[in-house]
């Protein structure tokens, strides 16, 4: 008799989903259905996905829809502040694929810095901040897209709290009324990496740089898939549906080689307050549990991740660790920046890699990108800004629209060169 190790994945999953178990789950099984029911009861308004959307599967099989165009970008304070190439790449990819969007001034941070880091906020304040942002999006008619992993996870938890606690809804409703805003939540809370995952084939279709020789390790953000764990993308074709599919799906669609390592589920060590005031923890954790393990077991060219805190932690922890003789020196990028580079984006004008700490130049060289020339072009832009010729770099400049109109400026060396 042959040993039946297991039935094919698809066949077993069909059996399970046909079974329709009656369950009592702590983590809300279908938050969308719960919201729509509350809307029917007149408790809140649900902003609907009203344009073309792509369906994806979440952990327990619930279908989630990702609206393709007309999105309201809920920016990340850490990205915009310290890793601006991350936000810029998200916008650039969306523009390049031809999808319209709104980049609001009427947006606050999710203020998780107040909540997770210092505990100087409370449930009602966090819920009100979240709803205020959602209401701002609702007013414009653009559907919210969340840039930061922590904002996304936190808003999923806020949604759960508002669904469970009518007294919280009442409190937030009253505060919103004072602001002239409704109590509104979107029918799905969508992270930008879910949009990138859903559109990964369209992104790959616009790819101009070959990344088949690039080895990638993926670091998944804790706050993306560990908070309200049912609401995260899983795909039976990626890790057999056993690990979240975002970032990996995109890297594979672009043709990169994704390699495993034994601390995949580990946090990066950001800790929120630790990275500012208890840095030995963050630095040690990122180095010992992530970077060194990746280098030793997978020897990658780049680690890709999809959250502000993770990029910051993994990128910034390597310098001091190198001084301690640790095995570091690994480029750290968001998958948005990597996708942008694969689509031909300028490493400085778009990906803004000069803000990064860990050395990215070997990666660029392997991708066939002449970073010296690119840096010279960017220096030319800076000279133009300095001379007052124009106040800001715009999207046309970012795509090199004016490169042939000017004489090349002599390349200024990057400060770090030796």
């Amino acid at each position: 008799m042959t040993i039946p190790i297991r039935a094919p994945v698809d066949a077993r999953r069909r059996v399970v989903s046909a079974a329709e178990p009656v369950v009592d789950r702590r983590s809300l099984e279908d938050p969308r259905a719960e919201l729509l029911e509350l809307e029917r009861q007149g408790e809140l308004i649900v902003q609907k996905i009203d344009r073309e959307a792509i369906s994806v599967a979440t952990k327990y099989g619930r279908e989630k829809r990702i609206q393709k165009a007309h999105l309201w970008h809920h920016k990340s304070c850490g990205q915009c502040g310290h890793i601006p190439g991350y936000s810029t790449s998200i916008f650039w990819v969306m523009r390049t694929l031809g999808y319209d969007y709104h980049d609001p001034h009427d947006q606050t941070s999710c203020t998780a810095w107040n909540y997770y880091a210092s505990a100087t906020s409370n449930t009602a304040a966090q819920a009100a901040v979240a709803v205020r942002n959602f209401a701002a999006a609702y007013e414009t008619g653009y559907f919210p897209l969340i840039h930061c992993g922590t904002s996304y996870g936190h808003y999923k938890e806020v949604r759960e709290q508002l669904i469970r606690h009518p007294e919280l809804r009442e409190q937030v409703r009253k505060i919103m009324a004072k602001l002239g805003k409704p109590l509104v939540l979107p029918e799905e809370i969508v992270h930008y990496s879910e949009w990138f995952h859903a559109l990964r084939h369209e992104i790959a279709a616009k790819q101009v740089r070959d990344v088949s020789g690039i080895v990638v390790t993926v670091h998944p953000a804790c706050h993306y898939y560990k908070i309200v764990s049912g609401d995260a993308i899983y795909d039976p074709d990626i890790y057999g549906g056993q690990r979240t599919a975002v970032v990996t799906g995109l890297a594979e669609a672009l043709g990169a080689e994704v390699r495993n390592y034994s601390t995949w589920f580990d946090c990066c060590g950001f800790g929120f307050r630790h990275i500012l005031v208890q840095r030995d923890f963050t630095r040690s954790f990122a180095t010992l549990r992530k970077i060194e393990v990746m280098k030793e077991e997978a020897d990658p060219d780049v680690v890709l991740t999809h959250d502000t805190g993770c990029v910051t932690t993994l990128d910034k922890s390597q310098f001091a660790a190198r001084a301690q003789g640790r095995n570091v020196g690994l480029a750290v990028l968001s998958e948005a920046q990597f996708a942008a580079l694969a689509m031909g984006a300028h490493p400085y004008r778009v990906c803004q890699l000069h803000w990064h700490s860990a050395d990215y130049r070997p990666l660029l060289e392997k991708m066939g990108i002449d970073w010296e020339k690119a840096w010279a072009e960017f220096q030319g832009d800076l000279r133009r800004l300095e001379s007052g010729e124009k106040p800001y770099l715009d999207w046309e400049d970012a795509n090199g629209a004016h490169d042939n109109e000017r004489p090349q400026v002599a390349p200024a060396r990057h400060e770090d060169d030796d």
Binding site: S76, P84, F91, A124, A128, R273
Partner: protein, 244 residues
Amino acid sequence: MSVTALPQAKTDAHYKVADVAGYTGVPYQTKVGLFEQVKEDIRFGDYLYGCYECGICVGVCPSAKFYDFSPRRIAQAAAREDVELIYQQMQEDIWECSQCFSCLRCPRGNNPGGLITIMREVAVRNGLASAKEALVGYSRIIYKIMSTGTQVSPDMLRPDAFPDWGPETADVADNLDLWRRALPPETMHTTSTGWSVADRTLIELYLIWFETGALDMIAQVDPGLHSILQELMEDRLEEEGIEL
């Protein structure tokens, strides 16, 4: 040994005793009161069910690998209502949590990280020594987030603040204004905030802080910052003709 020196039998042996937990100078009722505040929180019932003591939460916890910290002990202490141990945790352990929420893998559905969030808020509201110590040097950050609605602004990237992040930090600081103008997104040509926040948005934010009591949370740990922020926000709201 004389008869009078025999130790008393303890009937509540599974609770931590004051002289082992420490903080014997703090009245027992104070400790009880703090735990009552934790239990009263709207989230408490969502965060604590029963505990298997299975250690899954510790197995995934990054802080457990670095500190003598255990999310399991947090959940167990709360379930047992071990007030002495809980007080000790509020003074010593809770700031070690990295708030990653890996512990949400709990099969009972507990949220030790969430319990810690509540315990931290209670510690901050009551001005516990651990909260004051944890938030030393944090004033600027709280000021930034509460007054501008953003955090980690570009102008915070300075080599004296982040000497361990590498020489690129100095590059950023030296070129800050120019490099920020070299960003294509129209909202990001800012240096003191991550993006340019509309005036109206800030007014709405300040109202939220007042209406929810978030601002008053820091009254105990940083009274100076509290009054600065209160004045700033009250003035701004008054300019808009908004009564609190």
